[in-house]
């Protein structure tokens, strides 16, 4: 037998390892970085050596992030939310992200390099899917019976969301769902109804709706985040919408908006601390003749001037 290949192989391996180690020492030296992971029910913090991809550090610290392509930005399953640190979103990730997700600073864990302290959040609607992957990996009984019905069952079993609703609230949601159950495109009507009742979409209500409608939660979530008029965050009692349509804009709509922002101390899309006002923009409210226009709840104010803004606000205080 010719054992030369063993020697050659080891020679090449040695050269490669030594080169990489040297490069590691000389080129990449980010020092120690702290990673803070927030999940719905727990928070974890650990210190790693910088320079690795986030997914590797997470896996090493027993946080399961699903991935099927082994960290090559091909499957797009390892989504997490970066609260701070981690840099800009990369073009390799953009194709996997919806506009909403980009706005939320969602990233692929396999593309985020840990170069400094980083703070991430793994939303629950992602971990629900992940739990199954976890079960699949660790529980030999569950391993081979994985399919979509399990996913649904898992969500149903997950009492965390639904138990937060008390009985009266549950029946209120049931009523809304029943009213539209047989209508075409029922979900959107139901969501509108919820919006009217709560002023926003509480997460547990959405979960309950997805159960009642027998729709995947992701579907309900998708619809409810699509429209500008809907919000996942609590909204003020009065919603101010500043028209940004062409004629209103030309007539100074954005100046009105700025003055409202200053007066209320909030930015567009936010709600005042006392939950009295929410500020939004809208693309047209059909009052181009009276531009610039502002609507508060169902009332419309035309020919608004900056000096008049206070008067309008006073009515709702």
């Amino acid at each position: 037998m010719n054992f030369l290949p063993v020697i050659v192989m080891n020679g090449i391996l040695l050269v490669v390892t030594v080169l990489l180690t040297i490069a590691d020492r000389v080129l990449i030296n980010y020092g120690e970085c702290k990673i803070t992971v927030k999940q719905e029910d727990q928070e974890k913090e650990f210190v790693v050596e910088g320079g690795n991809y986030l997914i590797a550090d997470l896996t090493a610290n027993d946080i399961n992030v699903s991935s099927s392509c082994g960290g090559k930005a091909t499957c797009g399953y390892c989504k997490i939310k970066v609260l701070n640190g981690g840099g800009e979103i990369l073009p390799t990730e953009e194709i996997f992200m919806s506009r909403e997700e980009k706005h939320d600073n969602m990233r692929l864990a396999c593309q985020v390099k840990v170069k400094n302290d980083i703070n991430i959040y793994i939303p629950d609607y992602l971990t629900t899917i992940r739990n199954i992957v976890k079960n699949r990996s660790y529980d030999p009984k569950l391993r081979w019976i994985f399919n979509i019905t399990d996913l649904k069952k898992e969500a149903e079993d997950d009492e965390r969301f639904v138990t937060k609703l008390d009985k009266s609230e549950k029946s209120r949601v049931e009523e809304m769902v029943d009213a539209y159950r047989n209508t075409k495109g029922a979900l959107i009507f139901i969501l509108q109804e919820i919006d009217r009742t709560y002023g926003y979409f509480p997460e547990n209500v959405l979960w309950y709706v997805s159960q009642l409608m027998e729709l995947p939660f992701t579907h309900v979530f998708r619809v409810s985040t699509f429209y500008n008029a809907f919000s996942l965050k609590p909204r003020g009692k009065n919603i101010i919408r500043v028209c940004m349509g062409t004629s209103c804009y030309v007539k100074g709509g954005n100046k009105i908006l700025h003055s409202l922002e200053n007066k209320l101390g909030i930015k567009v899309g936010e709600t005042t601390k006392d939950l009295n006002f929410s500020l939004d923009t809208v693309n047209c409210i059909g009052c181009c003749g009276q531009s610039p226009a502002v609507s508060v709840n169902d009332d419309i104010y035309g020919y608004v001037k900056i000096s008049k803004v206070d008067d309008v606000l006073k009515k709702y205080k």
Binding site: L4, V8, L20, A23, I28, A73, P91, T92, E94, I95
Partner: protein, 195 residues
């Protein structure tokens, strides 16, 4: 010179690595949704493929063959590819930050791209000379980039204007576009001949 030109044209058109040999398909499907991304990936592939072929050729012909170790050339090639990609990435991150942002990020995705290994394997299989290897590697990568750019450009426009059946959206339609382009590339057949 004529020979090198033949190899180049063969690698880009008649024996296109993506459309004739069906290699490098994973990133092909994942990244051909946007022209910009496809472009960055294409440049990175050109760089890595040429670089690794240029390293692998001497290793194969000056170390492995004289030592009678052709047996392990798969392992050696893939390790060289992985290591050199990692090194280039580190160097780039340190010294060429701008480059890193625009195309360095694609580098780690390429390590296990079939195109890179395939070019090194074909170079052995066809016993090219050093110069021919580099031309072949460069040409193959250019061909890959050409293919992904065409498909990405068509796909980008197609998605805006057409009502694609649900099940066909995403990878399905990309495969069909790639199939049609591959069909068109068959027309180049016979333009040049390779040994």
């Amino acid at each position: 010179m004529g020979n090198l030109l033949t190899i180049f044209i063969a690698a880009v058109f008649t024996h296109n690595i993506a459309l004739t040999y069906l290699l490098g398909m994973c990133p092909f499907i994942a990244l051909s949704k946007s022209f910009k991304t496809a472009f960055g990936m294409g440049i990175a592939v050109i760089f890595v493929v040429t670089l690794t072929a240029a390293i692998n050729w001497p290793i194969y012909h000056l170390i492995l063959v004289p030592a009678g170790c052709e047996l392990i050339y798969y392992i050696v090639f893939i390790i060289v590819i992985a290591a050199s990609v990692q090194l280039v990435e580190m160097i780039m991150e340190k010294f060429f930050v701008v480059l890193q942002a625009s195309f360095g990020i694609f580098l780690p995705l390429i390590t296990v791209n079939c195109t890179v290994l395939a070019v090194s394997l074909f170079m052995v299989l066809r016993s090219y000379s050093y110069l021919a290897t580099i031309v072949f590697a460069f040409g193959s990568a250019v061909g890959w980039m050409l293919a992904i750019l065409i498909v990405a450009a068509i796909n980008e426009k197609l998605r805006l204007v057409s009502d694609i059946p649900k099940g066909l959206r995403g990878p399905g339609i990309i495969m069909i576009i790639a199939g049609i382009i591959a069909l068109a590339f068959l027309g180049f057949g016979g333009m040049v001949r390779i040994q």
